[in-house]
């Protein structure tokens, strides 16, 4: 069982590492943004550097949740591969666990890269408190965005809608989540009207966890429950395409 799981994680990781575009957006792009923003706006201002770092971590976890896990599971289901997997002599859950674990490992690698870059390039102190906040934020983020990603992936806007259509819906949700939040700038301070919208954003509680600020738990729990419920509802009425 352990060996099957280990192999499943290994092969899923190998498959992910071979997707050059995915690797760019998972590992290199967050680093690029951090080095750029850190140099342009964060020099000599440790608070701003931490704000930027945690904002990018928030963006990263949203990317993983919305684009990496949900669409993959939806495609397994819609293409009929799930039925094929069920005939294989190993538990289907092992396969999904491998998929999710490999994505988790990649996200942890990306986070470690960002933290080490922050420490080496900008002198950010990697205190246990900061690491604890980051872990808490990533866990909460992956849970809520994972379910949002699954809900979006299973939401058939149009019967037979193509990959591009589903992708564009996920992108729209992603951009709204990232840019209508405090990820890169204190939106509430810039525009008080948009500041009101932030109370309902699932991204902000994740950022609050990452930044060690008081957390809007009600918003976070409500979004997780809502996304989970919506996903389960969609999943039950979903039929395989083959």
């Amino acid at each position: 069982m352990i060996r099957t799981l280990r192999l499943s994680i290994y092969y899923q990781l190998l498959m992910a590492l071979r997707m050059k575009q995915a690797m760019f957006f998972t590992l290199a792009f967050p680093l690029f943004l951090f080095v750029l923003f850190g140099n342009l706006w964060g020099q000599g201002d440790p608070d701003h550097l931490l704000f930027t770092l945690t904002g990018i971590l928030g963006m990263n976890v949203a990317t993983e949740g919305i684009f990496a896990i949900g669409p993959a599971i939806k495609d397994y289901n819609s293409s009929g591969i799930l039925r094929y997997f069920k005939k294989l002599p190993f538990n289907i859950l092992t396969h999904f666990f491998g998929l999710i674990s490999s994505q988790l490992l990649l996200m942890l690698l990306s986070t470690a890269l960002l933290l080490v870059t922050g420490a080496l390039l900008f002198g950010i102190r990697l205190t246990p408190a900061l690491l604890g906040q980051v872990l808490a934020g990533l866990t909460a983020g992956l849970t809520v965005f994972g379910f949002i990603g699954l809900s979006v992936a299973f939401l058939n806007v149009k019967k037979g809608g193509g990959v591009a259509q589903r992708g564009s819906l996920a992108s729209a949700v992603y951009y709204v989540l990232v840019f209508l939040s405090d990820a890169f700038y204190p939106l509430g301070d810039i525009n008080p009207v948009l500041g009101q919208v932030l109370h309902f954003s699932p991204m902000n509680p994740v950022l609050q966890l990452l930044r060690g600020e008081p957390v809007a738990w009600l918003t976070l729990v409500a979004w997780t429950a809502l996304a989970l419920g919506f996903f389960l509802f969609q999943f039950r009425r979903f039929t395989s395409a083959r």
């Binding site: 050059k20 575009q21 290199a28 080095v35 140099n39 342009l40 020099q43």
Partner: protein, 155 residues
């Protein structure tokens, strides 16, 4: 009104950039097939030539635009320090960043030409592309960071 100097500077530089391509093509004896505006991937003016087997001529044609922008940038920096107009400086920087970007620029077209695999070839996500991205990142930081050129000139 001062911020308008930024798009105005970029427009003038864009005109000089494209004129440089046309002039270089004429001087090098390359056949210009089209001058116009492309809408994809983003709206931009362009000068198309028939690719010549004489490699250096085509490469000069590709790089003359960015060379002109760089020359003007160096001249203005050395002689007038951009007239203390930060928006003129920012216009130059934005234009330089656009002209050297690793996704779609004369550099990527030149790489397609050198690869010999036609206009659809791409080296995106290769090691060479990552080197380009890194150099581009350093250029942006060097131009816009308050610690470097921008700070030296205006802060």
């Amino acid at each position: 009104m001062e911020p308008l100097l930024l798009p105005l500077t970029m427009l003038v530089l864009l005109f000089i950039h494209e004129s440089g391509h046309v002039l270089a093509a004429k001087l090098l004896g390359l056949r210009v097939t089209k001058v116009g505006i492309l809408t994809k991937p983003i709206p931009h003016p362009y000068v198309a030539i028939r690719w010549s087997p004489v490699r250096w001529k085509v490469l000069i044609f590709f790089f003359v635009g960015v060379a002109l922008t760089l020359t003007q940038f160096a001249l203005l920096l050395g002689t007038t320090r951009f007239f203390d107009q930060r928006y003129v400086y920012l216009g130059f920087c934005a234009q330089l960043v656009l002209e050297t970007n690793p996704v779609y620029s004369d550099f990527t077209l030149a790489k397609q030409f050198v690869s010999g695999q036609g206009r659809q070839a791409t080296d995106m996500f290769s090691l060479r592309w990552y080197v380009h991205v890194t150099l581009w990142l350093l250029l942006i930081i060097g131009l816009f960071s308050p610690r470097y050129l921008y700070g030296l000139l205006f802060l």
